[in-house]
């Protein structure tokens, strides 16, 4: 499914310390157009709860999560 998604921006957030992964994603999404997709790659286990919680409060959507070794790719669609 991940291969079918058109990705507009990719961010490598691996190794960043708390709370930068969510902050960077939030800042990047603000610069994007509604409907565009961001892929954020992170090694933070906490991202599996932090990213969905951020998406709920900011009104965006996580459309897919792909695990690749120690890292996870979060596919985030800007909804508003």
């Amino acid at each position: 499914m991940a291969d079918d998604i058109k990705v507009d921006v990719t961010m490598d957030l691996k190794g960043l310390k708390c709370p930068l992964p969510v902050v960077k994603v939030s800042q990047q999404v603000k610069k994007m157009q509604v409907g565009q997709v961001l892929v954020a790659e992170t090694t933070d286990p906490g991202a599996h709860a932090d990213f969905p919680a951020w998406a709920k409060t900011s009104g965006n959507e996580i459309i897919n999560i792909v695990k690749e070794g120690d890292a996870s790719k979060f596919f985030i669609k800007k909804l508003k």
Partner: protein, 414 residues
Amino acid sequence: MDNEKRKALIAKIKTRLSRPMRYYLDLCTRCGLCYDTCHVFYGIPRKEYSPVGRAEVVRRIYKKYFRPSGRIFPSWGDAKEIDDHAMDELLDAAFSCTGCRRCMIHCPFGIDTPFLLSIAKVLLIENGTAPEELTMLADGAVEKGESISEFKEGYREVIRDLEKEVAKRIGAASPDGLIPLEKKGADILFVGLAGAHSIVNPAIIFNKAGASWTLSWFEAVNFGAFLGDPEKMQRIADRVVKEAIALGVKEVVIVECGTAYRIPKFLLGPLPFKVSSIVEVIHRYLKEGKIKIKEKAVQEALTYHDPCQLGRNAGVYEEPREILQSICADYREMTPNRAFNWCCGGGGGLVALDNEQFRIKSGRAKYDQIVATGAKIVVSACENCIFQLDTIKSGYSMDIEVKSLTELVAENLA
């Protein structure tokens, strides 16, 4: 700014005017002793970056609306009306302060400037001009508390991966159960952070000690506190309190995060469990012989940075020093240290803001302190401090290694 908004802001100030707050607002004699105690003023010597300079921004507004002299003769005491410019000044004052309280211990009257700046923070929230990053992080943390059941499976899956890493590092035959989740009746609930290192290193120590423990679903850091929103701070803190009570643990152990430790330890009132820092627990395990470290395993000169919220504001000074003096052959103190240690400039949520150049400049005092020790390894016990020490390292091109205390212990267990 319209009158309705101004009225709402004045009403907000009134909610914060407790007796200690009025004391701090009324008592300052402008002696100026606090100027040289602030790490920000050390790096950026401008009045607005001194403790009294920040406090005056709040005091002038207080005088205008709550002191007779300010109402009748506003120009006598520099009384200032709340307007958009005043709100900008409040933003700069509140979020250039890390809340380290070094100024407070030098002030002849013990004026708590960070407490005074809590007025600035509630005004910024009411005005809708509080830092977006901190608002977003606090809202996310509150939401996580409301909807944790939706996120558990994804988190559980990545914790399983971390268990494999723990198994590899401690030589366990099986990774199963090395990082327990939702273990009812465990002695300890450990609260980590988002990063794997904040879970793996403590997990190695807990397993080596044979501890009965379980990992929290939540992160320890409290962005509601950094934001200065008392309600969100309480809701974020309550997530772990409720979890601990539901699991029936005897002790909640907080990862290396000064504010995360100080809130349940001192600000939530009586709790039905003990609150400890991971540093205190490591120290206890060493004293009890539950873990052993390779004595003097680190030969390079090493120094310790006291995190303000763990040291000056919580009194945990000797435990980290005793641990480090066991591990390293050449331990060197910074001068000054303990209660008088210079703040690194990373606290108060500042590392979450887009202000790297400001933090490099305000980290100048810490840079000078580290250089004076000649140490090649700088250890601390707070994620914010570690983050900021790394910023200082790169900002001043320093030839040092920055390490977390828990990481150093986990790497040097016998």
